[in-house]
């Protein structure tokens, strides 16, 4: 599953733990959320220096020579600490689209900068009507004399307000939900015709609607061979799904730990509320939800983590399973904390909101169960 040595991975895990311990208390994280940038550029530079931004990239491209599987330890720890830096969007989504591009020159012009923390590309794929299906693309790429003209609107573009470049999926041919006929272009944010309507998300991250109006690009900005962007996009999104699965597990295990600790401290009716059998069984069900999701995640990574794409049935079941357990554990953590869990002051609510977001990103449980059926029926 991993291309890095066990020692290397352990070292990375330790460095992440140490960094988060030193710099990422709950309060410190809240300050970043409340800052204008919504993350710490200084942290980002440290991520670059620590080599984290290069984990899943080839050594030839200045990376550490690992795979997406090697980022999962980091993502899990980010989940535990509610990290808001744009790692998922930049290293995960955009990074994977670039790293597996068939366009060597474009790749070489972007990856070193990404890994050095100098450019922050993000991926714009989702549309108002696409509901988790990356093949659904209304955004058009029309051939022009000079190259291409892009028109369309993308929603929930993760980390776009913080980005220097946006990779946009656009349709050059085919029907509205075809995998074929799709192009991925790398567009600098300041390109005329690109409008970023940025916002904060309920879980303290940043995203944007990005509009493309007659945006002129050249074929040199295209990551894929003509019409073949679909597979590349799917690969990037598969990577994103694995990464948020790891992040969700980190958040879920933290919530379960906090809930257990709280119920052992909180007294009502003269005893810690952890003494009530109904609450005990509820926490057991949270533990079961977590452990089953974790085991499915580990199995999926072990079997498919090193492949170009996770087979659709396995990818779909994993995302569905993570979405469901994220909901259940988040909701029950609030319920067992009672009123205090409903406040902005306590971290519990913020984990709950992050899990809510992760359950929706890249399509929720219903979407992925439907995808499982289609894929397992060979459709």
């Amino acid at each position: 599953m991993s291309s890095l040595s066990a020692e290397m991975r352990a070292m990375l895990d330790d460095s992440v733990d140490k960094f988060l311990r030193d710099h990422y208390s709950f309060d410190a994280g809240r300050r970043l959320v409340e800052s204008t940038a919504g993350y710490s550029p200084a942290h980002w530079q440290q991520f670059a220096e620590l080599g984290w931004l290069g984990i899943p990239f080839a050594e030839a491209d200045d990376g550490l020579g690992g795979t997406v599987a090697d980022t999962l330890g980091l993502m899990r720890r980010f989940g535990r600490a509610l990290v808001v830096e744009p790692y998922l969007g930049v290293v995960g989504l955009a990074g994977q689209a670039i790293a597996h591009s068939s366009h060597a020159q474009l790749k070489a012009s972007l990856l070193p900068g990404l890994i050095a923390g100098e450019i922050l590309p993000v991926l714009a794929w989702e549309e108002m009507q696409s509901r988790g299906n990356p093949a659904y693309v209304e955004t058009r790429a029309q051939a022009t004399a000079e190259g291409w003209r892009i028109d369309g609107e993308k929603i929930t573009v993760l980390n776009a307000p913080q980005a220097t470049h946006v990779i946009v999926s656009a349709r050059s041919a085919g029907e509205i939900a075809d995998n074929a006929g799709m192009e991925l272009f790398v567009v600098a944010m300041d390109t005329p015709g690109v409008t970023v309507e940025g916002f904060e998300t309920v879980d303290g991250h940043r995203a944007a609607r990005v509009r493309f109006e007659a945006v002129a690009v050249t074929t040199a900005q295209r990551l894929n061979a003509e019409g073949a962007g679909g597979a590349l996009l799917q690969r990037a999104i598969d990577a994103g799904c694995l990464m948020i699965a790891a992040e969700a597990l980190g958040a879920m295990e933290t919530l379960l730990d906090k809930t257990i600790a709280y119920t052992q401290t909180r007294k009502q009716f003269g005893m810690p509320i952890a003494g009530f059998q109904v609450l005990q069984h509820r926490m057991v069900d949270m533990y079961i939800a977590l452990t089953n999701a974790e085991n499915l995640f580990e199995q999926t990574v072990a079997e498919h983590g090193d492949k170009a794409t996770v087979p659709a049935p396995a990818a779909a079941l994993l995302k569905a399973g993570i979405s469901q357990s994220a909901r259940y554990i988040g909701q029950q953590a609030i319920q067992l904390h009672g009123g205090i869990g409903m406040t902005d002051e306590l971290d519990v609510g913020h984990y709950f909101k992050r899990l809510t977001a992760l359950s929706l990103l890249f399509g929720g449980a219903d979407t992925h169960l439907k995808r499982y059926w289609r894929a397992s029926s060979g459709r």
Binding site: E127, M128, R131, A207, Q335, T356
Partner: protein, 403 residues
Amino acid sequence: MTEKDTPDLTDFRRDVRDFIDRVADDEIREAGRKTTSFFPPFEPTMRWHRLLHAQGWSAPAWPLEYGGPGWPVAQQKAFEEECRAAQMPPLLPQALSMVGPAIMRFGTDAQKAAHLPGILSGENFWTQGYSEPNAGSDLASLSCRAERRGDQYVINGSKTWTTYAHHADRMFLLVRTQPGGKPQQGISFFLLDDLDRPGLTIRPIIGLDGLPEQCDVFFDDVEVPLDSCLGEENDGWSVAKYLLEHERGGSSSFAAHFRQELAFIRRIAAETGDGFGGALGDDPVFQQRFSQLALEVAMVDATEVKFAALDKGSPESGPMSSMIKITAMETLQRINELAIDTVGTPALTLQIDALMVGSETPPMGSPDTLTAMPKYLNNRAATIFGGSSEIQRNIIAKTLLAP
């Protein structure tokens, strides 16, 4: 719905609709659309309360003698349904549905005269001071205390989850007036007619949606007159129990509220893509989740109707009020969850500015989707406040398993 109405109610419904059309201003309507919990935006809702009062309709469930319209249950329900269908903000329950009925039941003539008219008119707003940091589900363990000093009580301690205390001018609260004995004993039910008192501090609590709704209230040698007590001193638990049952029973119609939420989801689904070029509303999996919730709402409706017809002192009444609380609140949470699943990732956009009544900031994307996430977040409290679902099940179990 309409087909079972008598002709009178059909006329009445039309009168209600006409009244709303005539008097509800834009801000009131906006407040209705931007309600994201059981507590609608304060100012426009209180204005709507006062407009209803001018028509004699502010307290549909109150008896005639206290200024209620004297409507039978079916008419109250019809009124509620029309207001919900027009997306009016629901009136705040603390005064009208909680302390009001308790004052009618336990108050002296002086207390009734001092408090009921302002509740009915919407001139006063009351906040509830029950919970404390260490007394939530186990309310009887509360420690906020009042001691007699001369012709005053002196209150020390704190209360939490006091809804809209930062907007309130009055407060009802439970305080310990006698230490020792069983936990429920020695508690008194106080009515405070002025919150602008030395030693009383109110601190809003920011909720999951990023907005203040609940507050902490701190008492540091706060002096209140001896006639603040509703009912007997040290017997406040009886008052609180009466009030809790009254509250749980749903003086308002949850079903009407939930049907409106379902209609809202249906509308969103019709406009939302399924990812393959069709509408989510045509997806049978969406339809099935929706229909399951329609079933649950039909059950909430039927149980509310049954409860309304019950004698409130009957042995079924207690468990059934807990049952309504459990079923309705858990159903509401599932409805809110279907809403965010229907909206999808656009629900993740934080839109605090756009949610303000009178805001210049337009909602991002469809206005219908603006409230989905705040409702989902805020209504996690629905199974916690007013006695958690676990406490309600304990209450039912006691009756169910009584030998």
